[in-house]
Symmetry: C2
């Protein structure tokens, strides 16, 4: 791996070298490193691009890193990764994709991640997206995440897109069996002429399934964002979704939540707020010696933390 | 007017006889009474079914009643009513439609109401829908309301559908100029096998336009409801929409709000909650001597008040 790739790796996976535990590093469409453990196997798919990650029943406190870096301008790839998490496992999965585009052609990484989470298993999934490079070529990332959660399982999903991604269409769909719980935290910042669309659909199928979907986003300059959050309550269940968004400059933000109660014991709540930073917040920080831009930056950082 | 029609009139317009002020009573597709005043004119349309209501500039503290009653089974009508409200007027408009269907054919009243509200005019608009009758024929009401609000005008719109309407598709669209404000309060109860869909679209086009859209609904038995609330913030403006819904029995409720900020100074907020009545509320009232059904009834009445 070269210096650019190493920088991307740091940005998307906080990795300064080879991670501990299982990992699979993909660079410019090729495997750049892999490690498996006694409990976590990683197998290259034979029918298409991508990997199967198989985590044994009862695996505790282990992690899997599967970062992707793209530094070759004009490259487009589609990757299929499937995660099979055994019953009662408790693991952390860190994905992420960084694109450095120094050329004029678009670089695009599309990924379809499928999670099959076994009974009473607990998964923490972190996904960070980042773009850089001074080429005119666009940096495009389209992640699709499909989650099937068995009884009593839980997933905490944290997705972050902070900088440099010109266009993204995020799709997340989760189906939850009885007693399963999902928490999704999405943080998104767009700037320049970027576009971002995120749709999250959660189907609370089993009794006492629960969902908490939280989106925080900042749209700066001429960027555009659309956030769709759908919760379908198909049994006795609890669902909450909230979307807080800050507009700066000429940005446009759209929030479309959708709550459907198909069961009289479904309890569903939604909240959304779109607005700009309150003037008094800026002024307060400016009296402490910050410039207006610095004050704005500080507030945004706190909001997206 | 016969006794059935008089009962309907009471239900939809709280009228025990001829109202004070201007009115136009429509019964089974025919004019059953009309009164105009020095400031309020009512003119029958010549090109289609319906009336024009013209309210002079500066008219204060006057009211217009335009109830519609349908007691003939199998009748379907489409009515176009246009309201022209002069600058600085301050008036109350009471519409409403009651259907008594004693036969097996569907009775349907569709109305398109257009409001043109002049500068700084204030309008209170009340619309009540009601159905009764033991025939198998459906009672169908589809109201469309289109509102154009000039600078500084205000509209308070209150719509109520409490009972007996088998199917309704409500459509409300409002366009607001600078400084105009709209408040929409919708109350809806469905039961049996009824269907209700309500979509409210508010376009906040002018500076400091504001909207407050509040929906409270109860879906009982096997009824289905869909509530769509769209606020488009196209300038410096403030928009708030909330939807509170109670499910009882096997009813299904869907809430789809949509907030779009096309201007960095648009401040938009949405809240929605769908759920059933908390068990402890019922129990509390039952300890006071009410049966479970009575307790439920009491809570619903309070909620829809």
């Amino acid at each position: 791996m070269d210096q650019i790739q190493r920088t991307l790796l740091e940005e998307v996976a906080d990795l300064h070298g080879v991670p501990a535990g299982a990992y699979n590093i993909r660079a410019n469409g090729q495997m750049a490193g892999r490690n498996t453990t006694a409990n976590i196997d990683i197998i290259t798919k034979e029918d298409k691009s991508g990997i199967d990650i198989r985590i044994k029943e009862g695996t505790k406190n282990e992690s899997v890193h599967i970062p992707v870096v793209l530094s070759q301008s004009g490259m487009t790839e589609m990757v299929y990764n499937d995660f099979y998490i055994g019953d009662n496992a408790d693991v952390t999965i860190i994905a992420g994709c960084g694109i450095h585009n120094g050329g004029d052609a678009a670089s695009e990484h599309d990924g379809i991640h499928r999670f099959f989470i076994g009974r009473n298993a607990r998964v923490r999934y972190v996904e960070k997206h980042y773009g850089e490079g001074d080429g005119k070529g666009k940096r495009i990332l389209n992640p699709t995440t499909e989650v099937t959660m068995e009884e009593g399982s839980s997933l905490e999903m944290e997705t972050v897109q902070i900088k440099g991604v010109d266009s993204t269409i995020r799709k997340t769909v989760a189906d939850l069996a009885a007693g399963a719980g999902i928490v999704i935290k999405e943080r998104l910042l767009t700037h320049g002429n970027q576009d971002a669309e995120s749709s999250i659909i959660v189907n609370l199928n089993g009794e006492d399934a629960s969902a908490n979907v939280m989106s925080r986003s900042v749209a700066k300059e001429d960027s555009r964002q659309k956030f769709i959050s759908v919760i379908n309550g198909n049994s006795r269940c609890a669902g909450h979704t909230e979307c807080d968004a800050i507009i700066i400059g000429n940005a446009k933000i759209q929030a479309v939540p959708e709550l459907t109660a198909n069961d009289p014991d479904a309890a569903l709540i939604h909240e959304a707020a779109i607005g700009k930073i309150a003037g008094e917040q800026i002024i307060k920080l400016m009296t402490l010696g910050l410039t207006e831009a610095e004050a704005e930056e500080q507030i945004i950082n706190g909001f997206l933390k």
